[in-house]
Subunit: 213 residues, 2 copies
Amino acid sequence: MMNRNNNPVLPNMPEPDAEVLDIMKSLVSSDYNTQEEKDFFAANIAVKRVKKGMFLLKEGEAIKASYHLFKGCVREYYYKDGEEKTVAFYTAGESLTDGGNNLNRVPSIVNWECVSECIVSVFPFEVEYEMYKRFPRLESMCRVEVEKQYSNYKSAVNQFLSSSPMERYEHLISTRPELFQLVPLYHIASYLGIKPESLSRIRGRMRSSAPTK
Amino acid sequence: MMNRNNNPVLPNMPEPDAEVLDIMKSLVSSDYNTQEEKDFFAANIAVKRVKKGMFLLKEGEAIKASYHLFKGCVREYYYKDGEEKTVAFYTAGESLTDGGNNLNRVPSIVNWECVSECIVSVFPFEVEYEMYKRFPRLESMCRVEVEKQYSNYKSAVNQFLSSSPMERYEHLISTRPELFQLVPLYHIASYLGIKPESLSRIRGRMRSSAPTK
């Protein structure tokens, strides 16, 4: 459920604990960044712990910030004919953003739900713009990064579209085994484009055909 | 078929005709660009007419340039179990690029085939890098543009994945009717993820249910 005042993340955060403080420190201690850049990050990027079940973005809202995930799992989904359709899972090391929609203040059609407890950094878009203005070399890095992400996403989509449900499942379990610890199976079934019963059958078939030791 | 010396586009181009010259002129006459930028474009971006059946990129090649399409249609496809799987069509106004793969010199897994005669501008990656170095404001514009494209692509994928073949067909014919003039139906069937026979049935059903005037 969304928090009451519709902020994208929990409004009343407890004091940052040791784990969160460590992440905040790592954000402003990279050898790669200049002192001026680090000061900017320290002043403008928050790191937050978000409870399971909370949302970073809800359908109909305009997205206001990018998030980087340090822990946990966020599920991206939307409604189609009244049913939830899961389209992505984000885990530690991945970012959630949507530059295009942000620019046009388009209401989001997707939801970002924390399906386990998460630790995220929150990077509001106005801070991002300010950063690009002040540190052009960071904008250049971001352009390269976005192009890489876009390219990887296209490859993943092509791979997905050309696979059978069985192949999709095998690919997911071999490339992202951690998902199976973080996400209920019915969300994974939705992501694979199959019914939960079909996923159970596939898993049963794989177990029974696994080589015995 | 690829041209013999494996250049991405026809190596021996005829002299630019009036249509091509007009496009070249439009590239270097925008009010938006400074004279220095226009001079850079004029010196570094080629506009070419490419025959139907030629490739801008072949599987296994590292992509070396971005292309912007002024006329015609390019089909993106790859092989899956020996069969062609069409994943995208690009038409006038759209660009073909792949920043991520270019950076890593990764051999492409897709083919870009001109399915009708095309006019494209060719923008080699080394020219792109040079442009970013010399004109940071253009890099900033490109970052915004890539983010928008990425965002639009994600929306289109979500829309596609949540649709039935019939809905996909209806969406395609209402949003990109020109494709049906430019591309054989069996490529469109492949793109929709169905057999050509199924596409014929869908088209037949739609014709028979269309209101008579």
